[in-house]
């Protein structure tokens, strides 16, 4: 079976700045991978590349069996990205946002409502415009929007940021269930204790390249996983 993610010497430019300077990374389906590294290491760029938002200008990049350099579009409906921005329309209510994005991904309104429930967004909030939510509530809705898409590849950028304790537990549960169902999860986090417990593998980025843990476990049987 093809790996869910396979990058070889992938270069991604932001303007003329090489945010990714030759990334080698392989992730099997069903794996939960933590991306860590200092600010500016290229974690966010990597997640955005895998979502097909940023182009790879050199090297190879395959996601869910599709070559992202050739057709970045065909994987999009199977990928869920949670970014720093929450991708929500301020003027629309929580339920309207969730339903719109769910239906855009060919899911139903029922999927949207189930995802909101799963993230503990109470029904009384469903009719509230997103602009009036607190940052934490907004974050939960954004995660619910990703969950409602039922993606095969989850790309979560700092998913724990801004969530309270119960929110973090709900998120971790969601990630574990997604992986159990065969989904692949890559997430970037500075919450080391919680994240390393959640992850099957830790990949360390620095200077736009992978320093540690780029290969899938099977391919580096002798190598010691370096997880602090």
């Amino acid at each position: 079976m093809a790996p869910a993610v396979r990058l070889r010497a992938a270069v991604c430019l932001l303007g003329t700045y090489p945010a990714l300077a030759g990334v080698d990374l392989s992730v099997e389906e069903g794996e939960v991978v933590l991306l860590r590294g200092p600010n500016g290491a290229g974690k966010t760029t990597l997640l955005r590349v895998l979502a097909g938002l940023l182009p790879v200008v050199d090297g190879e990049c395959e996601v869910l069996g599709h070559d992202l350099r050739r057709d970045p579009r065909s994987v999009r409906s199977q990928v869920g990205l949670l970014g720093h921005a929450t991708f929500l329309y301020d003027e629309l209510t929580v339920a309207e946002n969730a339903r719109f994005w769910a239906r855009a991904a060919k899911r139903t309104s029922a999927d949207a409502h189930a995802a909101l429930d799963r993230l503990g967004v109470e029904p009384r909030l469903h009719g509230v415009p997103v602009a009036r939510l607190s940052a934490g509530q907004r974050r939960r809705v954004a995660i619910a929007v990703v969950a409602a898409r039922q993606p095969r590849l989850w790309l979560l950028d700092e998913p724990h940021a801004g969530l309270d304790a119960s929110g973090r537990d709900l998120l971790d549960g969601l990630v574990r269930d997604a992986a159990a169902a065969g989904g692949t999860v890559l997430f970037a986090s500075h919450e080391l204790d919680r994240s390393t417990a959640l992850a099957d593998r830790v990949v360390t980025l620095a200077g736009g390249v992978v320093r540690h843990g780029g290969a899938a476990p099977a391919a580096r049987a002798t190598e010691v996983v370096h997880a602090p």
Partner: protein, 292 residues
């Protein structure tokens, strides 16, 4: 961008030329210059003045006006064609984008020349600088649209994004020509014009005047080719310069990681800035993780 790496190495291997001229373009330039000289002779000395309906000696404007108009439309057609080739995935290459830009720049110059010469000629023959004729109006609208096109080429955006947007604008601008032309033509024919403006805009010409005009078209086409080649090469070199900087930028970026895996990066001092330090610049790498 598909062969970014090849282009980078190629630029490294070949010395950067000091000018955009080659033997071929010098010959082309020489021929163009010669042809311009002959055109001047034909236009001002050899060819006769016209009748009163075309403004006597003012008819000589035609030898600049008509060729520039023809060239303007040709260069915008080239721009639209190159833009389409750029947008089409299978032929996408920086080459088409830069050629489209070069052609549009030269075309904008010619279209401005067309409007200015036409306007002066019109003042002499018809007594007005401007008339709402279909061809004039279409040309003016096209001029504004290509100013917009050049503006899009200059906005601060990622190169590929900008090129793609410019390509769409270039195609639309050209597609719009027949629509604008038809609409203006109908508009004018529905409203009868004062007699002074009823002068036929394409006067019957023959003999030496015709040959001079054809020769003018040929000369201007040569001039166009010469200008576009040079403009394109300047743009191409600028592009290479950026790509050449990329290899160094990647090496510097990788050095932040403190990996020694690339001996070339380690052994050769970086052309600018401090040499890559295996432990990484302070503050950029996590101290607790060391390279294997």
């Amino acid at each position: 961008m598909t062969t970014l790496r090849d282009e980078t190495t190629r630029t490294g291997a070949r010395p950067v030329p000091a000018s955009t001229g080659t033997a071929a373009t010098r010959v082309l330039g020489g021929v163009t210059l010669l042809a311009l000289g002959v055109l001047l002779y034909l236009a001002f000395v050899a060819s006769p003045a016209a009748g009163p309906s075309q403004g006597f000696d003012a008819v000589r404007f035609m030898y600049v006006h008509v060729p520039s108009a023809w060239l303007a439309y040709l260069s915008f057609a080239v721009c639209a064609l190159c833009s389409a080739l750029y947008l089409w995935r299978r032929t996408r290459s920086r080459f088409w984008d830069l050629l489209a830009g070069a052609s549009a720049e030269v075309g904008t110059l010619f279209i401005a020349l067309t409007l200015v010469t036409g306007s002066i000629w019109g003042r002499i023959t018809w007594g007005v600088y401007w008339t709402w004729d279909a061809r004039l109006t279409t040309t003016a609208v096209l001029f504004v649209m290509f100013l917009g096109y050049l503006a899009v080429r200059r906005v601060a955006l990622d190169v590929e994004v900008r090129s793609r947007r410019a390509a769409v604008v270039g195609i639309i601008a050209f597609l719009n020509v027949p629509i604008v032309h038809n609409s203006v033509q109908w508009w004018r024919t529905l409203h009868q014009e004062p007699t002074v403006l009823r002068t036929d805009l394409s006067p019957q010409i023959e003999g030496l005047m015709l040959y001079t005009l054809l020769f003018g078209v040929l000369t201007f086409t040569l001039l166009y080719a010469w200008l576009v080649v040079h403009r394109f090469r300047v743009a191409w070199l600028e592009d290479r310069l950026e790509a050449a900087g990329l290899g160094r930028a990647i090496a510097e970026r990788r050095a932040e990681a403190g990996l020694d895996e690339d001996p070339a990066v380690e052994g050769v001092p970086a052309p600018a800035g401090p040499a890559p330090d295996p432990s990484g610049p302070a503050g950029r790498t996590t101290p607790e993780v060391t390279a294997p």
